[in-house]
Amino acid sequence: MGKSAMDGWPGELRSGVLALAVLSQLNEPRNSANLIRILEQRGLLENPGTLAPMLRQLEKQKLLLGDWEGAGDRPQKYYTLSEKGADAFSQMTEEWRKVAEELQKLIEGDGSDDID
């Protein structure tokens, strides 16, 4: 893709679904560095700097539980889904499925595009 009006789009798209990506990984406790590695490996994280503020936001909204582990020089904060977070995750997943499915139909064209 050359220099075009859509240049920022890949980043915007990924940041829009970042919360869903994060919640999906927190059935087991993970720290933020851990999450950054997972998401970067899959090309879902444009800027690792966006993750820490998002985790903090999700924790404030009580979707995540944060726990400091390991004292001394390098303590780490581990996050897991709260009950509320699990609910939110299933709702968001449902929403994502609908959007993805319909978009896929639109892009491929399933024969219903001449309803008009």
Binding site: N34, N47, A52, P53, K77
Partner: protein
């Protein structure tokens, strides 16, 4: 001090004080964990490059937006300012003019009153506009702040009493018409101020209009031109004209475009105004004897008075005729060809 220390420091000094410790600790833990044990400065640098400008990172932590009035209320705020400021400024100017003329009549020369009024007027306009701006902004800032607090604590957000957008809210065809069919709000505003001047002068004519003579202390008012008792005997007629004029201005302000009814009303109003002037000035008794004698002394005869009165009446009548014609011209411009042309142009594009 390592690069990470400095980076974390740069971030936390830009976030709210009560969250500083937590954010710093979390960020440091993340950064350190992303680096291999016994890392080199080069790796540290690369990592920080990926995290980017600490100011940008800090802004992502801020849940409180950095604006005074948010998008939920901004439109209402601007609309309200646009309505309130012109109204208040007009009213203040009218009050200023009336009170100045009443309080200084007979005590100062016309020139100094007008000069003072001009300076006071500018000051009053600026002062009023700034004050209204400040108070309206403050009220909206409080609304915004209460709303933010409500949202943060999970209470229902403030919803402005508007019904939501429907296609009926679109500007009417007439409002979308070319600008020259529209009466600008400044026109009735100026009319009202002008009316205030005339009324003030009318009630103080014996102290304002007449012969001024130069003296050591400047200009002295020596001979009033008008016999105030006779002049004031016409007050019901003058009052009626003024009320009809105010109605006209309010109508113009609200409707903002000429139509046949308004143009007809304007014809009646202007005719009445001219008649009142003629009635007043053809009564020889409204001028004081002293004034006529003075004129004879200065100009050699009282004919000068006839010229002045004639000129005044002619000017008043001329302006009235122009105004009436303008009203009808704009009415028919609107309902006639230009609207059709405008519609057709829209259809063909």
């Amino acid at each position: 001090m390592t690069l990470i220390d400095r980076y974390v420091g740069e971030v936390v000094r830009r976030v709210p004080a009560k969250e500083r410790d937590d954010i710093g600790k979390e960020l440091r833990a993340t950064l350190e964990d992303l680096l291999p044990l016994g890392y080199a400065e080069k790796e540290e640098r690369e990592l920080l490059m990926k995290f980017g400008d600490p100011a940008v990172l800090a802004s992502k932590y801020r849940s409180q937006p950095r604006y005074l009035i948010g998008p939920a209320f901004f439109d209402a705020y601007v609309t309200l300012l646009k309505i309130i400021i012109p109204v208040v400024v007009t009213v203040v100017l009218m009050v200023l003019i009336i009170t100045t003329i009443f309080s200084s009549a007979g005590e100062a020369s016309v020139a100094s009153v007008v000069g003072g009024l001009f300076a006071d007027g500018i000051a009053a306009v600026v002062d009023t506009a700034v004050n209204v701006f400040f108070w309206v902004t403050l009220v909206f800032f409080i609304i915004e702040w209460v709303d933010r607090t409500n949202r943060a604590t999970g209470k229902t957000p403030i919803v402005l009493p508007e019904k939501g957008w429907t296609p009926d809210d679109m500007a009417s065809e007439q409002e979308l018409m070319p600008k020259n069919r529209v009466i600008p709000r400044s026109e009735p505003a100026f009319d009202l101020i002008w009316t205030a001047v005339w009324v003030s002068v009318y009630f103080n004519a014996d102290k304002l209009i007449g012969i001024y003579e130069g003296s050591a202390s400047g200009l002295d008012f020596t001979t009033p031109a008008f016999n105030q008792t006779v002049l004031l005997s016409y007050w019901p007629l003058v009052l009626l004209t003024v009320i009809l004029q105010i109605i006209m201005d309010v109508w113009k302000w609200a409707r903002r475009r000429w139509d046949f009814r308004m143009a007809t009303y304007n014809l009646a109003l202007q005719t009445l105004t001219v008649l009142v002037f003629i009635l007043l000035f053809t009564n020889a008794e409204i001028f004081t004897e002293g004034f006529i004698l003075e004129l004879e002394r200065i100009f050699g005869s009282a004919d000068a008075l006839n010229w002045i009165v004639g000129g005044l009446l002619f000017t008043v009548a001329l302006f009235a005729v122009i105004d009436v014609i303008q009203g009808f011209r704009k009415t028919f411009m609107k309902e006639g060809s230009s609207l059709k042309k405008w519609r057709m142009g829209k259809g063909s594009s």
